[in-house]
């Protein structure tokens, strides 16, 4: 893979930086700075001395910097955050896995397989996409109550192992439709059925889109407040957003610095995960083989 990447980027470029590359670097730098704004403010508040978050006039860095917030925040005002973190990892991890498996299969079916009612079913999927969440919330709750699954993480995980949201199905369909059919045909000639074609030929191609979808879904579950509010009712099953609000905002005197530090604790692991995974934003090897090279 490395070899192929290196070969692709070989076409000789002028060694002197051109005007357009300087402009691009400048655009990237200013983009980075602007995007940093809310994150900077988050970090600023997170490192402020509790009680001095809004001191006037504000300085570039909080004064004094309260490093002890880093270790104080996870201890919680009322209850430590680690138990909530475990539930969040369970919820986000299991739900994301389900999403990636079932949504890619459904997307593949809509893009590649021919079966009666395909267009009607896809239309129905899009219809679901357009429905406000509030409309489906109540019947779903009633269903899981009948199944006796209230006060657990199951109602938050199980739907995602049955297709889950239309968003991922639609995205995967769009991706599979953009793959040249010659690849499937070659596999079929070699005797592979749709199942094998999907797993061995198409899924490795889909790494970039799977990384993107996985990341987006994970962030959605990780930050989800409404879902756990409905289903995870006892402290045993509550997730991080609930835990943070419970510890630092529902109290008589909200500790905003520690609140923001807890949020930062939520953001940093996901940011690191993204930093590792974004290296996977490289196309699968098959594509580079097209076009007769």
């Amino acid at each position: 893979m490395t070899v192929l990447v290196a070969r692709r980027s070989r076409p000789s470029r002028p060694s002197r930086p051109s005007r357009s590359s300087v402009a691009r670097a400048f655009a990237l730098a200013s983009l980075g700075v602007v995007m940093l704004l809310p994150v900077y403010y988050l970090v600023y508040l997170a490192l402020s001395q509790p009680g001095q978050e809004f001191d006037f006039p504000p300085s570039v860095v909080p004064h004094p910097i309260s490093w002890s917030n880093i270790t104080d925040a996870p201890k919680g005002e009322i209850r430590p955050l680690w138990g909530y973190a475990r539930n969040s990892v369970l919820y986000a991890g299991l739900a994301t896995t389900g999403c990636l498996l079932t949504q890619s299969m459904a997307g593949f079916a809509f893009a590649r397989l021919r079966f009666p009612g395909r267009n009607v079913l896809f239309g129905l999927t899009l219809t679901m996409l357009m429905m406000p969440f509030v409309a489906t919330m109540i019947p779903r709750f009633l269903l899981f109550r009948q199944l006796g699954m209230i006060d657990s993480l199951w109602p938050l995980i199980i739907p995602w192992w049955f297709g889950g949201s239309p968003y991922g199905i639609f995205l995967m369909r769009q991706f599979f439709l953009s793959i040249p059919p010659e690849i499937d045909e070659a596999a079929r000639v070699d005797g592979a059925g749709p199942w094998r074609t999907f797993w061995i030929i198409l899924m490795p191609q889909a790494t970039p889109v799977l990384v993107a979808l996985g990341m987006l879904q994970f962030v959605y579950f990780w930050n989800d407040l409404l879902g756990p509010l409905i289903y995870a009712q006892s402290q045993r099953w509550k997730t991080l957003p609930q835990g943070i609000l419970f510890n630092y905002q529902a109290t008589f005197d909200p500790q905003w610095a520690l609140f923001m530090m807890s949020v930062l604790w939520m953001v940093v692991p996901v940011a690191l995960l993204f930093l590792v995974l974004q290296r996977r934003f490289k196309q699968g090897f098959l594509f580079s083989g097209l076009g007769g090279r």
Partner: protein, 272 residues
């Protein structure tokens, strides 16, 4: 799966034909609710606010995100860092992000006014000003392009590099490469983000609910906020259902039109 989606849709369709104050049972009134909303000035205003928001949000979510993704697509030092910085604001949970924006643009102690004051400009009302609240809510969308950005980036990576080489050999410049390779090859993802963008911006609720509650002077009264008010503050369930149904139909019609038009500009390599 569809049972839990289609069921409530039909139910709210039935409710929309009734007069249903939440206590008591619904009374059938036919199309009365729909006639009523034609004359409801506040509703017409809410539609206007929603359409303005949707139009500008689409430019940001579909257009600006595409620009950023192309910018961040190349190789080079620190490209991973810039990608992270673009995605980072989308990682902040909404319950915290809304608090952050509210404080940054607070009229009395916000950093924005502090900086304006430093350079000698007058203090602004921001979210507390009827003229500025809507543009500001739209502007916050610049930091919410994370999902569109990621899907574009993955789409860009799926474009075979040979296509670029071929067209460069044919003498195409950067504009030609964008117009004849990037745009057609990326069109399925552009369609995806356009549809998603319409769905989420027509239904915008959270940000308005947390930051402005529809105010000041109804300047950020989005469609769903209006439904929420009618249903859970004024308890007109029948009327609210009619509003919700009309919203659903509008989004459906928009999406159908986009799909119909997409046949002319979306290029599917896998379906010839």
């Amino acid at each position: 799966m569809s049972v839990f989606y289609i069921g409530p849709l039909i139910a709210s369709g039935v409710y929309s034909l009734t007069d249903y104050p939440i206590i008591g049972s619904p009374r059938f009134t036919g199309l009365e609710n729909y006639r009523k909303l034609m004359d409801d000035d506040q509703f017409v205003h809410a539609i206007r606010v929603t359409l303005i928001y949707t139009a500008f949000s689409l430019i940001i979510y579909v257009g600006f995100a595409l620009f950023v993704a192309i910018l961040c697509n190349g190789t080079g030092r620190a490209i991973g860092l810039v990608r992270l910085l673009v995605f980072l604001p989308s990682l902040i949970p909404l319950f915290a992000a809304a608090v952050l924006w509210g404080w940054l643009f607070n009229r009395d102690f916000g950093l924005a006014n502090f900086l304006l004051d430093r350079v000698g400009l007058p203090t602004q009302g921001f979210f507390q000003s009827a003229g500025q609240a809507l543009p500001l809510t739209i502007m916050v969308g610049f930091w919410g392009i994370g999902s569109a950005f990621l899907t574009y980036l993955s789409g860009l990576q799926a474009i075979p590099g040979d296509l670029y080489e071929a067209i460069t050999v044919d003498g195409a410049g950067a504009v030609g490469r964008f117009w004849h390779v990037t745009l057609p090859m990326l069109s399925p993802v552009i369609l995806f983000n356009t549809v998603i963008g319409i769905v989420i911006s027509f239904q915008v609720f959270d940000i308005g609910w947390v930051l402005t509650k529809g105010g000041p002077a109804d300047s950020t009264l989005f469609w769903v906020l209006f439904i929420y008010r009618k249903a859970f503050e004024e308890f007109e369930m029948g009327y609210a259902s009619a509003l919700a149904w009309l919203l659903f139909l509008s989004v459906a019609v928009c999406t159908a039109v986009i799909f119909r038009v997409s046949r002319h500009w979306v290029h599917y390599e896998g379906r010839r």
